[in-house]
């Protein structure tokens, strides 16, 4: 130990000296990506395959959409994953730092409303009914309050935490305002906790991304959603999302590419092209919904033109068509 101590002290001294005097980052080509944990599985799949094909290093973090944009707008990352459009605040942040971005929709996700598999009374829910349950200050505590035909059963509500893009989108679509929601539900950033909660509570109800429902079909039941009461109720499925009938709970997912990196770093350009090229196959493999192929073609064109900006103007919008979005930026 005595000699070990001496040795380690010597090494530490050496280390301090050497590190402070030399070496910037290696000349290796690295693409840095961070952002939404919802988009993470897609980007991870892309990064995995891209690194098999090319000698470029790709790192992916999951700081959340907001955390990702913070790094992106400081110029620390090349690409930011986002489960919602960039907000006005984030646009200002990027502008101040002189960072321009190219907004690319890359897939769809179906927000899925689930109940316990023993719940046999709910056949479908309309957005009005969801609003009644989830609006701020809602007093619904029993299924009977939603519909007199439902049994007298206490309702247990589970949902994502307020930092999540899923929360932002659902509240926008159901309550008409992003982040406005009743607060007396059980929140968790980990969707598996929500799955556990609903599968252990007969009166339970939750919403999260489609992939978590897909993997837990044995424990949960998805509820068909109708956009208006009286309109046909649509069961969430990749098909219903693709043909645009599952509204308003299907949402686009995005990547934001640093415009300078896209123009001047060939590896970033190559990666994004690879991303869009392989999206139909890999997006489906990780249980998300690919865009229709004509939309991918449009997104590719958009990226080729390297046109920076957002089609949302800092506000989230429910049920927007990819083509309209792109034409707005043009």
């Amino acid at each position: 130990m005595n000699t070990m101590l001496k040795k380690s002290m010597r090494i530490a001294a050496l280390l301090a000296v050497t590190f402070s005097t030399s070496h910037v980052l290696a000349a290796d080509k690295i693409i840095k990506i961070d952002g939404s944990s919802t988009v993470y599985p897609i980007t991870e799949a892309m990064a995995e395959e891209f690194q098999k094909a090319q000698k470029v290093k790709v790192t992916v973090g999951e700081s959340g959409t907001g955390g990702g944009f913070k790094k992106f707008c400081r110029g620390e990352t090349d690409i930011s994953d986002a489960s919602r459009p960039i907000t006005q605040k984030e646009m200002d942040m990027c502008k101040e730092a002189g960072i321009q971005y190219i907004e690319l929709p890359i897939a769809y996700d179906a927000l899925t409303v689930v109940v316990n598999s023993k719940n046999d009374w709910v056949k479908s829910l309309s957005v009005e009914e969801l609003n009644m349950i989830w609006k701020p200050g809602s007093s619904v505590k029993n299924w009977k309050q939603v519909n007199a035909a439902y049994p007298d059963k206490a309702m247990g509500l589970y949902g994502p935490g307020t930092a999540s893009g899923t929360f932002d989108y659902f509240t926008e679509a159901v309550n008409g305002k992003s982040k406005s929601s009743r607060t007396d539900y059980t929140p968790s950033e980990d969707d598996n906790v929500l799955v556990q909660g609903v599968s252990g509570n007969v009166g339970g109800m939750a919403y999260f991304g489609y992939a978590y429902y897909e993997e837990n079909k044995d424990k949960l039941r998805a509820i068909p959603i109708s956009a208006k009461s009286g309109a046909p109720a649509i069961m969430p499925s990749p098909e219903a999302v693709k043909d645009g009938t599952y509204q308003p709970l299907s949402r686009p997912l995005f990547i934001y590419v640093n415009a300078t990196a896209a123009a001047f770093k060939p590896e970033v350009k190559a990666f994004v092209n690879f991303y869009l090229e392989n999206a139909p196959k890999l997006v489906a493999e990780v249980k998300y919904v690919p865009l229709p192929s004509t939309d991918y073609a449009a997104v590719k064109e958009h990226f080729k033109a390297l046109k920076p900006g957002t089609g949302f103007g800092g506000k989230n919008e429910v049920g927007i068509k990819i083509k309209d979005l792109i034409s707005r930026i043009k």
């Binding site: 005595n2 101590l5 380690s8 050497t18 790709v58």
Partner: protein, 317 residues
């Protein structure tokens, strides 16, 4: 026989009965206390054991060589821990190299050299308090200081230094405890034959307190290896399918410090990521990783106990 003696005899007998009853009662208390102690011990041990067995049973299909030699992947069966365990190893190396020299030196100074005044007392209270500060606070400190202040970025060096800070109070406190355990007679003997303070510290104090210091170091390190919060705060990655540059190179100067500035991930973060996946196959990976982290921690603690035993054996006072 007089009535007097009879009376004493009777009272002695009575006393004897009372004494025996008392002894019985005390013995019974002994047994009850031992039982309570045993139950308390078992509760702790069994909980750990159940947890560990549960992880092993969930994760056993992944205990293969590939699990250690594969990079993470979107397919659970192909996903491995390579970047995570290499990351953990490198981060812990930096942690060891910073926390041990600094912690031992600080402990020695406080115990041997520091003047006894209000300032030393203040430092002492602060060091003890630091040991109880939640780890996320160290993460926030490191984010401001190392990542942005010193511009070290989200690197292995940053993570190692952060966990080094986290381990530091444990090392300081255990160094001081170990030093206090050395009999005054030993120092006095050394001074008596004309040794200087530095000689006493170098040849006696440090030598005899090695066992205690080592225990503190390893306990601190095994806490650090399971830390997730501060590492996430400073921005560890989740998907990284390459290793940092090797520390030893083929060309002169044969040693390379680029790995210090490399991005990284560590075991608990990889586990956290897998656990939050929808696909249940990833939960198997997470369980296997959990079991591995527990085994590593137990091995580290076991090593501490063994080394302490070996060192104690060689000290003859």
């Amino acid at each position: 026989m007089t009535t007097e003696t009879l009376k004493t005899k009777a009272s002695v007998l009575e006393n004897l009965v009372a004494v025996r009853a008392m002894i019985r009662r005390h013995k019974r208390n002994d047994v009850i206390f031992a039982a309570i102690g045993l139950i308390a011990l078992m509760l702790g041990l069994l909980t750990l054991l159940t947890l560990f067995l549960d992880l092993v049973m969930d994760g056993y299909p992944r205990f293969t060589l590939e699990f250690f030699s594969n990079f993470p992947s979107r397919r659970a069966a192909n996903a491995g821990l390579l970047s995570a365990w290499v990351g953990s190893l490198l981060v812990m190396t930096v942690t060891f190299l910073t926390a041990v020299p600094m912690g031992v030196a600080a402990g020695l100074y406080l115990e041997e050299y520091a003047p006894k005044n209000w300032f030393s007392d203040l430092i002492e209270i602060n060091v003890s308090n630091l040991a109880g500060v939640p780890s996320i606070i160290y993460g926030l400190l490191a984010l401001g200081l190392f990542v942005y202040g010193l511009g070290l970025g989200e690197s292995i060096l940053t993570a190692g230094l952060t966990l080094g800070l986290l381990t530091l109070p444990v090392v300081i406190v255990s160094t001081r405890e170990a030093i206090r355990g050395i009999p005054v007679a030993i120092r006095e003997a050394a001074y008596a034959v004309g040794a200087t303070k530095w000689q006493v510290v170098k040849d006696h104090v440090v030598k005899y307190s090695q066992g205690g210091i080592l225990t503190g170091v390893i306990i601190g390190m095994s806490r650090a290896i399971g830390e997730t919060a501060p590492i996430i705060t400073i921005g560890a990655l989740t998907f990284i399918a390459f290793l940092p540059p090797t520390p030893i190179t083929e060309v002169a100067p044969f040693i390379n410090f680029e790995w210090l500035s490399s991005g990284f991930t560590v075991l608990p973060i990889q586990m956290f990521n897998w656990l939050s996946r929808p696909d249940h196959a990833f939960h198997t990976n997470a369980a296997a990783t959990g079991a591995i982290i527990i085994v590593v921690t137990l091995l580290m603690n076991g090593t501490a106990i063994y080394l302490r035993y070996q060192i104690r054996k060689n000290i003859k006072w």
